[in-house]
Subunit: 376 residues, 2 copies
């Protein structure tokens, strides 16, 4: 195990990249999907089960954890890894995105964001310095810069001033983070769907120097077409010798399109949240397990899937426990969805290593085109 | 693996008995606690995890399963074992108790009970013959007679007419069950807290002949004192060469007192239901994990407990996820409680085998007397 954080690019196929992020807590095979453990748990999953799906790293949410149980409490209990019983790497977001979407009475200034907790109404302030402190208290392996991010569409003036604020905050984050061997700080590119602003943001971040770079400000309502248009140029503006992380993305076809355009890391609540609402991802598309057509179906959710939901149960059972609102429904469907996502990432890594990403992509889309309509 | 159902009494200590129930699907070490899998799932648990806690057998509820997903559907999908992915023995109740406590517009006649489903309002009829048919469709290994059971206190006339009806239904259950090698039918003793009626009921059941005998009509509001008073005489009225099952019991001290009085099998929703409401059973008593005193406590729920909740997490974490309403809270606390119950049963089996039940009982009560109040 290395004691330093580093990125090793192993192979490329077009813009797609396959590699390894080395961290003191273990390697992250990229392209990587990070399951989201918002409140110190990947909902409905044991950490050991998350690991079994193939996950190398989890994401924790600074905003949620600072409010409950608080970063100070987690620190006094030995840090987030011990607290949630996950010994692999953890990436924490900065709290910047969620404070703007979840908190109450929020006020944005040059200094940071003041707000009231959506849980108990208590007053708080998040700044680049406070965000760095919280992420240090949590013991995060990959720390994200504190940033601000407008929803799309937004006019150029709004995108520009927001991006410039985020770049000033990026410098303050870098200064506050200091020198922490084995821990990484990622900068976040902003600029919305404006190529010139994306370029300016990338330049500013490169000047500061980070251990990795996120493409921020996407997956905020703009749709896949605009997102891919931005990804056609944004990743290439970032250093090739550092990992590139697309925040908050996404659906399976979003991941494939983003990997194709040079992204290495992803996080999204979609596979776990969908598991709780009865939606299952498969190579043939989405299965809505609550539909009555599954009630007598003895087949597994997805043939060949090694997850416990598919190896142990029929669609009829999954339909029954979903309808009966049984907890095992969330457990099994989340397990399946995270397994599906990790297998998708593994398939993409293999395809890139073999220079067969185009074949992979064609097969991926062909499978989905079949739809989930075959007879028993 | 035997192809027949049989009970092997291995040792006794006073009235307490230790033995093995042999079934084609595996042995049941007695005294045994059966976790309840009402709707084809032990809530918040994977079947493999239930097995890991030490459970040899599960209980399924006829009333719930006949309504959703229906016994016919489970039969067409290969039976309850395959449906819920549990290959050990399953005992099913008759539906008689729950139809009287959960169903709507129920009407009791000599023939049986007609009622409306509490789920969708559909009309149904449960009779001894229909109950036997449903339990056969489910593939139950241990089938319970269809009976009727008044809440206590009840006057003697009510207890007597109810017991006599249950005995007529016991004969009809026996006739309808027929000859099913490898599957067992248990009779259910009634008579409330009336010793004479208990004796008449036991005599009637012994005349019919069953593979095991339940002490029914307890845990219906009468309290532990009256329950133990009945158990001072009721089990001894039943054959010594067949297992004795106390239905719907109970708290840990109920189990200890009932084993002492000659009971071999138990079922109860308490450990799983309490797990979901934040109550944990330990050798030192009940821990209410929602209490603020746990929020900074780095200790495990119970020292020395091998379950994942105790080996992987602090009380502070369990407090946090309970407060945050995370699913893992129900998963971990249920896992702990079922582990506690199975360890309690294992300890009692060992104590009886070593003729040390009195020492076990003294230690059990001494541990609880300490209370869960020790400093960190």
């Amino acid at each position: 195990m290395t004691q330093r954080f580093s990125y090793q690019l192993q192979s490329t196929d077009g813009q797609a990249r396959q590699g390894i992020v080395h961290t003191p807590r273990g390697d992250i095979r990229t392209p990587a999907f990070m399951p989201v453990g918002t409140a110190a748990t990947v909902k409905a999953m044991m950490p050991s089960s998350v690991r079994e799906t193939g996950a190398d790293i989890l994401l924790g949410n600074t905003y949620h954890l600072m409010l409950r149980p608080t970063a100070e409490r987690i620190a006094s209990l030995g840090g987030l890894h011990r607290f949630m019983n996950w010994d692999g790497p953890i990436l924490t977001d900065s709290g910047g995105f969620q404070v703007m979407s979840l908190a109450e009475l929020r006020k944005l200034t040059e200094e940071g964001v003041s707000f009231r907790s959506h849980i108990d109404g208590s007053r708080h302030m998040l700044t680049p310095e406070r965000s760095m402190e919280i992420q240090r208290l949590l013991g995060s392996d990959i720390v994200m810069c504190f940033d601000e991010c407008p929803a799309l569409p937004a006019d150029r003036a709004r995108l520009e001033s927001s991006m410039q604020l985020s770049m000033r905050w990026a410098q303050r984050s870098r200064d506050a983070f200091g020198d922490r061997p084995g821990h990484a700080l990622f900068g976040i590119q902003q600029g919305g769907d404006d190529e010139e602003l994306r370029g300016q943001s990338a330049e500013a971040l490169r000047a500061i120097e980070f251990d990795g770079y996120a493409v921020g400000g996407l997956a905020v309502g703009e749709g896949q077409e605009i997102m891919f248009r931005v990804l056609d140029y944004a990743p290439a503006m970032l250093p090739t010798d550092k990992p590139r992380y697309l925040m908050g993305v996404g659906k399976p076809d979003d991941l494939v399109g983003a990997v194709k355009r040079g992204i290495d890391m992803f996080d999204c609540v979609l596979p776990s949240r969908s598991g709780r609402t009865g939606q299952a991802f498969t190579a043939r598309g989405v299965v809505n397990i609550k539909n009555a057509r599954h009630q007598d179906d003895p087949r597994p959710l997805e043939e060949g899937c090694p997850c416990p939901a598919c190896s142990g149960y029929s669609r009829a059972y999954l339909h029954h426990v979903f309808r009966a609102k049984e907890i095992i429904s969330s457990m099994l469907l989340t397990w399946h969805n995270l397994t599906y996502y990790q297998r998708l990432m593994a398939d993409m890594r293999a395809a890139i290593a073999e220079q067969k990403f185009a074949e992979f992509e064609a097969k991926f889309h062909a499978g989905r085109a079949q739809g989930d309509v075959e007879p028993v």
